[in-house]
Subunit: 357 residues, 4 copies
């Protein structure tokens, strides 16, 4: 049973059916298909705002292209020190921006602290010797499975905007953040000061479909050329647009995320009840990060459960793994079954029971 | 009826079914799935050579990544002056290589002439003031629908290699070139001096699947990082590997290409028999480039036939459109139906018939 | 005697003295010195226009930074096919711009023909698949020693501007072009449609001093950061500003150029009178490109005269070297002595005299 | 009296005279002059090792080019978090490397701690998702005026090399580090594991002259092209080579550095004796970083003394400025006069004397 990531499963049936349904007949290539226009309309309705939309096959591309539209090569981009753009993209943001500098900020639970951001923004510059503060990027759902609520986004984005920065949201798990927070997409983004969103469908039921959503069209001016010369304009655009259309239809995206979140909450609650297991952060989305005895970690892996050892410097004080303990990451997806969650909980409970005398 | 391009249709039924079949269950992400390993094995067998394989969603990405592995930023890359890398990728090769210089060479029918290449290679350099000759890239099938036969590839590649260059083949329509030439994949590539191939499935029956195939593993060393930081490593890798597996299975790829080529030959022969139409290049693959009276062009477009006006400087002497004529491109795909080809031919013939007195 | 280039000699005495005179005492670094402000004022007066000025140590840097301010990475930059930016900078423009595409245009005598430019500008584009026309760069004095007069600049620049391009002048030998044409600096630049000038002092009496001169301050916005992160902001800025101040003072720059041009004209006239020598282009500046018998070339080199064999595709019809002939480049500088010119002419004449019977 | 930086003064008389002496006559351009060959010979003797030498006009260029030779675009470069490459070059290392990631490490007094480096090197990587550790760069003299002794360099460089990294030294103030440590240039560099040195002459008596010194020629392979296409190959190379030749002649470079260091020690000792002033780091080179009462800072500035307010996170515990205090930087140069140092000390002492009752 696989809790390794939300990208180890395929697409939801509805999304897959849409790919199949869109396969027949001739359509204009390079994103000029009629489905793409409908996706844009749906996103406009969903976000209650005019949008420019650029679909790409992956999240690293969406982030890199977004940041390149917000920061010049000599820009400074603020992010959490453990964010995906900082630690998991092999320098893609530097590649797409032409060498901008990512500055990692600290904060508990993967969330940038307002004070950390303020301090970074107010640090003295040395004119032309310093890179130029250009953008802030927030990941929501964060890499720790926590979420920023709209007022938290607004506090950080507002601060950044008062210093002249543009604000990006890495929404690889945006659906989970929306499902977890109960906020509307508009409240979570442009109403809170977000200029550009990487809207991820892949981890939440699509096969390969991400969209860069601009709330300010002026920022999107260079995007068509950036996407093209990055080799990221899919020629048979129906592949992307069909996925998005089905994903957005009838709140399918939200249903998928709610399921994943529900499974994660169930997993969290089940594990937290097992003696010897702590869960340092709330499971506000579809990820759970328990601290386990290493002995238990081994036992579960031996039984075929799949999850990853994790490292984080953003644990709450005293919440980190002690000697003989391990922090691990378990991820639920739209396809996670309740019975598998329960199996994992049961296995953990069984493995920690004291052996009879 | 659409002869605009071979990317205006979806996937073949077999490829589509494979995507669906691969959808269920958990698989490792980021290209570590078992299907990917099988695809590599199939390509090794097909090319009769050890290969390194990197699947990506599009052809511009495949070309850009390939060339970046062959040329430093100060490299000089020789290509046909009307090649896709030169004229249709918005500078993607420059982007991926970090600023290499593409030098367009002339040649009839989209094929680089040996003399043009020799002259370029032997041009005097001014030491550090000149860029450094690094790579040759050949497009096969060419952008003019012609093809290089293995001995022609070997002549150009051999010349380039004697000057220390590496050689790339842009095989966006490689299947059509193989079907058209009757050569084996090995004869057309490494046996003729090709180091790296962009192997395109998208235009020939896949939905979005291209592979960079290295015949010299040493050249592939930087590829994993380049692909990752280009945002081109698809997380749910099964999307790409499932397409390739079905495409390669049982000569499906070749069957699809043969059909497209057959349709193009039928179209070419039919049009060539219509008075007032000339076809300056042979249709060696799935593309036909007739010279039509502009009046006829308008008539066909008005009847709903779709194709593109073309411009080329590589027409044979005297073969170009005269006053009142137009060069157009018509492309057949795996999905083109014989009856549609015949309809187009009949419409052309009808439109050119002299009106009765 | 060295006619190899105008950068094989040092600085004029006046420029050198200025470096020495500026050496003592403390001055703000990084271009904030008082001399730099005075240089800007002098250039404003000289060009009769508000200017933004950025001094750098070399011409390749000046060109690369200029073009990076005029073209995005996906831009298309038109230049003569034999221009310095195209053939002699190891891809520096591509490096500075982040991968823009230089397109070389033909034209006799190193001068872009209006028709060649028009044809390039009017070539059809394929939307996002094509790079975006961004800039035109003219070299004046050209690499062939010819010059564009203000009306010729205006014809090309005007055409480019009507297509939305910005226009740069590579003025590595701007002084020689001004001296040769009799035009004012204003007439040769902004009055004729030039947006940015690389103003070279190095080849004309300075030791290492070039200035990028912007006539439209808005175009200079990113220049301070580009120069800094290119490692091109000289910390002890007095080195550059002292050279420029002396060079501009009392028409020193023009006196130096006039001398060089006079020597070149003398050389041209002298050589043209020698039987068997042709000079296909006028010597409008400080360079002479004679076509010599190869036997004579060898004889002169053997006597210690230094000059370079040249190749050019921009010779007038029938003007190129025939069998047994060589095109060579001879360059005069501010330091070239009349007696050395006469020695070269005499040696050429002597070597071509028929041996007595 | 100016203690703002060591680049606010010009060149030493000997260096200036050498520029003048090298001015006359013809010499090959682009670094092919005979002086350049002599400089290389002198550096080989000085470092007791074969070297490849590339002179450039500035230190940011020297660092950027060096790092680009040591790290691919996807490389990770470890440096002190307050190093010049990290905070003062507007992202030049990112620019030259094509987007490598600089990782700032902590350490007291501007010196990277061995534990901090070990921890960074041993941090787990996530395969292709992580950038690849490529280089370590040490600044010596550090930005805090402290120095690494050869055994300290060896400890850090050795650790880095055992992890497969290459090691660079930013020696903008290398002369001061040599003078301060008493180590030989060989002991401080290749004997301690340094692969490439940015050897700075500018801050220590030259006008604009830095050299990248490679101890492993294989690492220098791409350097000529990188320098050229960065616009950093000075055409009249004598400007750089003449400075270096004089600077290296007869230990002139060391004499200049010793003077600057002596002045700094005098300044440090004088200030440390003034009540209310603390000097948290030793003045091991030519820089002093006193913590002053802000009232005193204002008084000294008002009297015309020039120095900069500084910020540092690498102060020893408890050594930082308290309320009403300021950390400032004062720099001595080859040209600093003893009487000016004494004036500053006296002024500080006078301003802090208790007013008579």
């Amino acid at each position: 049973v696989h809790f390794g990531s939300d990208n180890v499963v395929g697409a939801s049936r509805k999304v897959l059916d849409a790919i199949v349904a869109a396969n027949d007949g001739a359509m204009p290539s390079y994103g000029e298909d009629a489905l793409a226009a409908r996706v844009k309309g749906r996103l406009r309705d969903l976000f209650e705002h005019e949008v420019e939309v650029f679909m790409v096959p992956g999240g690293t591309a969406a982030n890199g292209l977004s940041l390149a539209c917000l920061s010049p090569p000599w820009g400074e981009i603020f992010c959490h020190e453990e964010s995906h753009v900082m630690t998991d993209e092999c320098g893609a943001p530097e590649n797409f921006t032409g060498g901008a500098k990512l500055v990692g900020l600290q904060g508990v639970g993967g969330k940038i602290g307002v004070d950390a951001l303020r301090s970074a923004l107010e640090a003295p510059r040395r004119g032309v010797h310093s890179v130029v503060p250009a953008a802030l990027t927030l990941t929501n759902l964060t890499e720790c499975g926590t979420l920023y609520r709209p007022d938290e986004v607004a506090a950080l984005a507002g601060l950044a905007r008062r210093h002249g920065l543009k604000v990006h949201m890495d929404g690889a798990r945006f659906a989970n953040a929306i499902a977890g927070s109960g906020a509307s997409p508009a409240e979570m983004t442009w109403k809170a000061g977000i200029d550009v969103l990487s809207l991820g469908a892949t981890k939440n039921g699509a096969l390969a479909a991400e969209a860069v959503v601009f709330f300010d069209p002026a920022l999107a001016e260079s995007m068509p050329m950036r996407r093209m010369r990055g080799g990221l304009l899919v020629s048979k655009g129906r592949l992307l647009s069909s996925q998005f259309e089905a994903w957005l239809d009838g709140d399918h995206w939200l249903d998928l995320a709610r399921h994943a979140n529900t499974m994660a909450a169930r997993l969290r609650n089940g594990l937290a009840a097992v003696p010897g297991i702590r869960v340092p952060w709330p499971a506000e989305g579809n990820e759970v990060f328990p601290v386990l005895p290493e002995r238990l970690e081994r036992a579960l892996l031996a039984q075929g459960f799949r999850f990853h050892r994790w490292r984080s410097g953003s644990l709450p004080d005293g919440g980190g793994p002690g000697a003989g303990e391990a922090l691990v990451r378990m991820v639920c997806s739209f396809a996670t079954r309740e019975e598998d969650v329960d199996k994992l909980i049961a296995a953990a409970a069984a493995a920690t029971e004291p052996s009879p005398a």
